[in-house]
Symmetry: D2
Subunit: 266 residues, 4 copies
């Protein structure tokens, strides 16, 4: 019933206590050193998905297939990344689907790039802009590890110079000053489609909302998504003592045609 | 720049005040009656995506392309449905992707069925079980309207009889008593993959957690996702006065191989 | 064991289902008409605290002593009032205690006036300013009904004219533009003591924070207090479906002596 | 304008950055050592409330009067204590007021004892039971430091032996198994008055709710109070990154007379 895992496979090692978790790319002769002891990659390959391995000092670990939720949390980052709680909601609000063409700016550590690339599939395409070359490189590596790099066109360019793409299905902005670039967004986005942005402070939201209004974006939604975990002990069921109090606010909006204006209503 | 919309297209009409929203399947000669006046489908077709239409008494509406987030909120339902805030998070936790084979039980009104079917693409497949034939019919109609019906196999059967599928990539349970069916879930799920469930009460969570432990499911996560909207007025930025206080808790877990047991650790 | 209740007593009638609740001032020959039937005040007087009365058509009600929490929720109002969740926290942050002298502005419907007057006791004093005479009248009636009117000095005056009091133990501002009146607050407050304000929007908070800094108020705290109720059914324990998403933010700060400035640090 | 502070006074030293805070009882010749440098108590006495002091290496601190909110957060503890967000709400729900007689069990570190004793004033009385003598001693010291010890009768006794008091205005239980002691609560509480309890887990809430029903307590409320702070930077207004996700749930209820039963309704 168990199948051997091959070198090159990305797996999750999860301690029985669930406190320690590792994302490991298996290598022949590889070794994982943890505070709960050493595990050989060969052990993991033999155990297979759903299998159990013991570290050299007897600690129990399980082998599972990493999910995008986990990958996103563990991704190598040099910036704040979008959390799974927000990433999932963005997919539905921007109506991402297999085959979609999605434009994002900036790339950052590539967390959201990986999410978009996972869901657009091989028929879709992600265009990811960032002015900082080192971030593009990091994002490229993060996408490669999740095996979706081939679906992404990375571009080192400042958004003020505009985007190459037209008629894309969605635009997502993770920038400190998205209010400066709404004309560029409008030029790239297909009619009737939606843009999203992530902003941490109320000052930014206020400014962005004014800009959306001036640029004839309608159907504006501002929302925060909160993730509240429970301890999973059935005898002492209760919320976790600590929670993330804030990551950022999501803003979504849809541009309408200017040609419909001229009557003062927008 | 504007393109005519064809009969049969599903569009969103959104009032300038954003308070009124309509999902409309366009028909030649069709008519939409709202408390803000009457709009002819012909007007909508001519306006196109991003266009503006005026009702017979002058109220302004915009035409946009419906998103999955909106469709899910507006779906015809006879049951509580999964909300967008949860649906997005489920996609990441269950690692849904184009080409995936996903099993769900029960179908209910088909909200989550539509979400899964949207993201698995034409290469993927959703198997949706419910014992209540009328719900299957409703879900089928809801999937059809979103044009993903062809990706779903609906089955009128009680979960206790087991699933036909093996090696599926994910299982999602929206049932009042998921604790009774973990062996069936284990039989259907590929090794190392994850199952999810939605439960509204703590009594259910407690019981389910015990059952997960007895059935050797590990890496358990219990979480609630909260959606808190802000009013989008930049001069009076503040959270909405009312919010949804509760929909349900999400529980995720991964079965491990029984053959690895026998040492009392699980 | 039961004691008769006298005319003039304020009591709570609470239906067995807990859905209907009434605050009643008992009168000889009085009558309470509810959607669950009619109850005579004489019945309530005989039943006494902890007693049960049946309406003319058999609905069950219990007689309890009203709490300040309940009074505050039921108070006659013409303005948004401070909620119990905020009122309690304000008491601790402003260090209200028996014998304290508390200044508030504006009075509004008198909700917070009633709270302060309840906790300062007969040795304390509340000074409540509002420019709108009709609100002062409403607040006076609300304090009278809770039998604390004698502890309050109401003053019809605009805050810009300054307060009569000096060396008060706490100041609370429920005004749309508290940033305009920090010198007046400073003049009234005893050294080392704290002021609080309630503000609904982020725009107001931003402006108020700048003003606090300019006016040498330190130890600033901005907080929102959320109240999340659970349904009290032990078989289906879960949060309530709806909750209040927003009432307002509380800001607390303490002025320091200007004479200590002059070094650019504040 | 500044007044000298006397030895024996409890003051707050708050660093300009607001990150460091100290509760200090002033002593002649005393010295406060902090990671931001050393401050002499004499400096604090001369600065007075609202004054500024510099540590030996130039760090700025302000002198303010400690509030009950701060005292509660800083109290010496050997147990989880009730937080200010809950303490304030309890005051309103239990209708504590100057002159009230309040019974609590168990005493714990004396946090809630201090709160009750502060608000009942010199005419009121707090009766605080705990079976653990060392906790009573800690609580006594905590009340003494806040100068309310004389209003409290501490009793080393297990609740199962019952309370000495009758007709008290409120009862508060901070025990792991409050469901075992509802008859004792009923015996002590005046008719029509309310009891409160703090419980951290859903399992406990479920069990307590069943017990409340069996013991004819009505008007049950279960609630959690959440405290969400904002960073107080007006240029980057946003919630704090981390928040306390859980302290406990508050349950309030009022016993009704058994003599009114016998009809199956309760």
């Amino acid at each position: 019933m168990t199948s051997m895992l091959e070198a090159g496979t990305l797996v999750t090692l999860c301690s029985a206590s669930k406190k320690d978790r590792f994302l490991v790319t298996l290598e022949d002769g590889g070794k994982l050193e943890t505070r709960l002891g050493i595990i050989l990659h060969d052990q993991i390959m033999s155990a297979g998905y759903g299998g159990k391995v013991l570290s050299h000092n007897g600690s129990v670990f399980y082998v599972t297939k990493p999910t995008l939720e986990e990958y996103l949390r563990k991704i190598k980052r040099r910036t704040q990344i979008v959390f799974p709680k927000e990433a999932g909601y963005i997919l539905l609000q921007l109506d991402i689907r297999p085959g979609a063409r999605v434009l994002e700016c900036g790339t950052g550590s590539g967390g959201m790039t990986t999410v978009f690339a996972s869901f657009v599939g091989d028929e879709g395409r992600v265009y990811s802009y960032d002015v900082r070359e080192e971030f593009i490189e990091l994002a490229r590596r993060n996408c490669r590890k999740w095996r979706v790099e081939q679906r992404v066109s990375f571009k080192v360019r400042h958004i003020s110079e505009g985007f190459d793409e037209r008629e894309v299905d969605a635009v997502f902005l993770d920038l400190p000053d998205p209010w400066n670039y709404l004309p560029q967004v409008r030029d790239a986005l297909a009619l009737g489609r939606r843009m999203g942005a992530l902003l941490p402070t109320f000052n930014q939201i206020e400014r962005f909302l004014r800009s959306l209004e001036e640029n004839a974006f309608v159907d504006v939604e501002v929302v925060e998504i909160l993730h509240r975990a429970l301890k999973s002990d059935p005898d002492r069921l209760r919320p976790e003592d600590r929670m993330i109090g804030h990551t950022g606010y999501l803003i979504f909006a849809t541009p309408i045609l200017y040609s419909n204006r001229g009557d003062g209503v927008i």
